[in-house]
Amino acid sequence: MTGKLMMTAMLSCLGAGWVCAADEAASFHQEMPEARQVAHVLDRLSFGARPGEAERVEETGVEQWIEQQLHPETIPENPTLTARLGPLESLRLSDREIITQYPPPAQIRAISQGRLPPPDDPELAVLVRRLAERDRTRRMRKNGEGISKPGWRDLLTPEQQMQLRRGTPEEKVAVLTGLEPARLSDLLFALPPKMLRQMYAAAPVDLRRRMMFSLQPQQVVVADLVEGKLYRAIYSERQLEEVLTDFWFNHFNVYLNKGVVRHLATSYERDAIRPHVLGRFGDMLLATARHPAMLFYLDNWQSASPEALARLRKRRRGALPRLNGLNENYARELLELHTLGPNAGFTEDDVLAVARCFTGWSIEQPRKGGGFRFNQMLHDEDAKTVLGHRIPAGGGIEDGFEVLDILASHPATARFVSTKLAQRFVADHPPESLVNRMAETFSETEGDLREVMRTMLTSREFFSTGAERSKLKSPLEMVVSAVRAVDADVTFAFGLSVVIEQMGQPLYRQEEPNGYPNQSSGWLNAGTLVTRLNFAQALAANKLPGTRVDASRLGKTLDAVARTLLPAPLSDRSRAVIEAGLNGRPRSPEVLAALVLGSPEFQRR
């Protein structure tokens, strides 16, 4: 489409209203040329193509490749990913194990004040005792009680001190790795946080995790979670599963920085989201409803029937100060964000009734990593009416199960879920015809998400010109697709998460239950475009710590570099502008790659 035509189209659209319905509908009927289908499926089912990947998809055949991606368990995993995930131990632990092995600050304080015993594991006990000791020293210093700082200098020779202060990051790390274990352990607890952080990128992963542990153990859990996500996005061959895990976590969003969620998010993603992304929607819904991360994030664990509470208070004379009675937070988001969608016709009475059904759905000792617990004593035992369904009195925990069943099989849920998926995979304003067929599949298969995905990914709308290149990449998609395109070797994914955060998408830290925007407009922001351009240049010039790029392999000419990095050819305009801009300047592969990664074309998928 030429610029002038585009403008004309836009003007007529503006005349007609927000969506140019007729034009858009037509574009979803127009099939894209077959030659562009490979690029399209890679753009949508993966976090962007890696070099050589288009050829592989071509060889397999587009349809067959989609089918493989719909069955991730049949795809052999990339050994690089296995190697990267190996050291990130907390990813494989239970909530309780995480809290014991990576104690949060409050727990360390409790141990330092003698309110809690140190852990049983002797090795861990030594570390925790050190953390507790340091906590005590810090508090005394804050109180103005003079205690001399433990001197890290005393632990090192003058040469080592010099290297640690003035050396390159690699030289600094070499000082540490050269120490005997006991001394290294002392040093890690004595070094100022800033010095430790400066060494993160250069340190081997095990040492880096020990450094983080010595600063704040819980930080290791957060780093493992973030790095695990990025390594999978970058290296996994099961790309659709990763894209979907990102999508569904966002759909059932929890916020990492809300209290105990920090040590619950790991199992939430691993056990409640990931196993179900190509399974049944109802199973995922139930798994999230029962998971302590969700119960805590949306406060349901503290929700109690006011009458039950009054009865208990009378009996126990004013105990239970925590509980305020009914909390509607989860009930409202369950209806509005997780299932039916906004404007689906549910009423305030429905919200209230759902909240009453979930009273008593709580957590066994949230601060100790306990799991789901139904507290019969706090449950509202009266009859309720939810969306016209009568839920008889005395149902206990069954009330909640029944509500979830009603919601999972509700036609509004089928539509809402289908619309959101189509927004993610097809277009910001997906065609009605497609959403209808997806919703039908959803209802016919009792919410089998693999079938819903198949309906969408084999549809003519998915392979239409209306869908092609219509989505703006989110910061996560932009960074990961760039890293994949240049085939970077990433050994410190946490560094990339900082860039993604600077673009406005701190991973696992979207506070609102709505999650991050599913539509392109949410990512158009004046401040962060600048960050995208700077990232493109830093990546290509090999300036991101822990991410190595060999730009010389990307090609020597502008066209060659563009062919490697972009799924579709560079537009004539961008090409002309880059040629003009390069006039007389050296065209190193780094410069060319930076310009292509920062181009408007690369911001879309």
């Binding site: 916020y255 922001n525 962060t528 502008v577």
Partner: protein, 420 residues
């Protein structure tokens, strides 16, 4: 709202390409009759729930001292005592830099202010306060962004700025706003012209429009950040978080860059244990930063109003660790040349047992939206508060401001004299 935003920006984009019809350009640009110097609203958020009862303390109330035997600030005149404000309330001594401003009536205190929502979760309370809709989670944008929702004139690329790495909820939404952590670092590191031409030539209308905003903002900021900034009138900003943020806001204001609203924040107020020394240290930074800002602005302070807020207050009674726990009502400051200061506003509910919220916290007698609403209508020219604070109906005016120095949107660019 998104739609209006889109219309506005598309029209701008088309205008720049010379293909937009005249009516569209007129609608998008509006008429430019605003005075050159515009009013600026600066919002400072104290994240973590600052202890309002020790920031401005009711020292004539014996209950204050009996509830806080270890951490109450001594009465005025005593060693380390409060700075008397009005014979009833005293300012924490670490805020001594702000005392002259109160005396010169440029600083007003609103006490027992806050959100009516009962939550004691930092996360929820901040969310509600920033969205401006207590109790409603799904509000997509922040109150300060909605307050900008009158793009009747062409506005500055730095009309709304948050000194922050990411857009804070307060300023997030459909109206263009820029989040940046440092004016100095806000630039494209290389090949800026090539990138700019690439986006300006691009047929991608959405990216074109965003890029236009971005490069305009970068250019504006680059132009004024060329010279090292020197605060005026001997103002001395402390290092740390709030000081540098306010200094950069002052820089934008004095450059007449078209700034209308700014957001800055300072975290770390959650003092559950050993509160006194920590609060004093933080208040010193807080007060010194605000005072430096006011001094630096000089006579421009007449056009600038600062409001401070925190998600909730803290328990009236100290806890077992010489700290305080999450509470309810709190104190807000309003500072600026047009402020009717020198007074503690709000109805004081007292700390008597029966008057405490849930028998433990200072009650809220002034809704935070009453304070913000007054500033928005009288300073930013917001006509209809119901779009900014849906579901909230303001009561009688508090009278926080001296006059209605109302203005519409800032003229941009400032040299574009228009006599229509």
């Amino acid at each position: 709202m998104r739609r209006r935003f889109f219309l506005h920006r598309s029209a701008m984009a088309m205008a720049s390409l010379g293909v937009a019809p005249h009516w569209l350009v007129r609608t998008a640009l509006g008429n430019q009759t605003a005075p050159k110097r515009n009013q600026v609203l600066v919002v400072v958020f104290q994240r973590g729930a600052a202890d309002g009862l020790n920031i401005v303390a009711p020292y004539t109330e014996q209950r204050y001292y009996s509830l806080r035997p270890n951490i109450a600030v001594p009465r005025p005149g005593q060693d380390g005592g409060l700075l008397d404000l009005d014979g009833e309330f005293g300012l924490h001594p670490a805020l001594r830099a702000l005392k002259p401003l109160f005396d010169e009536r440029q600083l007003a205190v609103v006490h027992a202010a806050g959100s009516p929502h009962p939550t004691r979760s930092h996360f929820d309370a901040q969310d509600y306060m920033e969205s401006g809709t207590p109790g409603r989670k799904s509000t997509p944008d922040g109150w300060l962004n909605r307050a900008l929702d009158n793009p009747a004139t062409e506005t500055s690329p730095v009309r709304a700025v948050a000194l922050d790495k990411r857009m804070p909820r307060t300023l997030d939404g459909g109206n263009p706003a820029v989040a940046l952590s440092s004016l100095k670092e806000f630039r494209v590191h290389g090949a800026a012209e090539t990138f700019e031409s690439m986006y300006m030539e691009s047929a991608d209308a959405e990216l074109h429009a965003t890029a236009q905003e971005s490069f305009a903002a970068v250019r504006t900021v680059r132009a004024l950040a060329q010279q090292p900034y020197r605060p005026a009138n001997g103002a001395n900003y402390p290092g740390g978080t709030l000081g540098p943020s306010l200094q950069q806001i002052a820089q934008l204001i004095k450059a007449d860059a078209g700034l209308e609203v700014a957001f800055a924040e300072m975290g770390g107020w959650d003092h559950h244990a050993n509160e006194a020394p920590q609060l004093a240290r933080m208040l010193r930074h807080f007060g010194d930063s605000l005072a430096a800002f006011h001094r630096d602005l000089g006579e421009r302070a007449a056009d600038v109003t600062v409001v401070t807020m925190s998600e909730f207050g803290r328990t009236a009674e100290e806890n077992g660790n010489r700290g305080t726990d999450h509470g309810h009502g709190n104190v807000m400051f309003v500072m600026g040349g047009g402020v009717s200061g020198g007074k503690v506003y709000g109805q004081w509910p007292t700390l008597s047992y029966s008057k405490l919220y849930q028998h433990r916290d200072l009650a809220v007698t002034t809704d935070f939206r009453a304070v913000l609403g007054e500033l928005l209508t009288q300073r930013l020219g917001v006509q209809d508060l119901s779009t900014v604070f849906p579901g909230y109906s303001p009561g009688a005016s508090l009278g926080l401001l001296t006059s209605d120095t109302l203005r519409t949107t800032a003229r941009w660019p400032p040299w574009n004299e228009s006599d229509s």
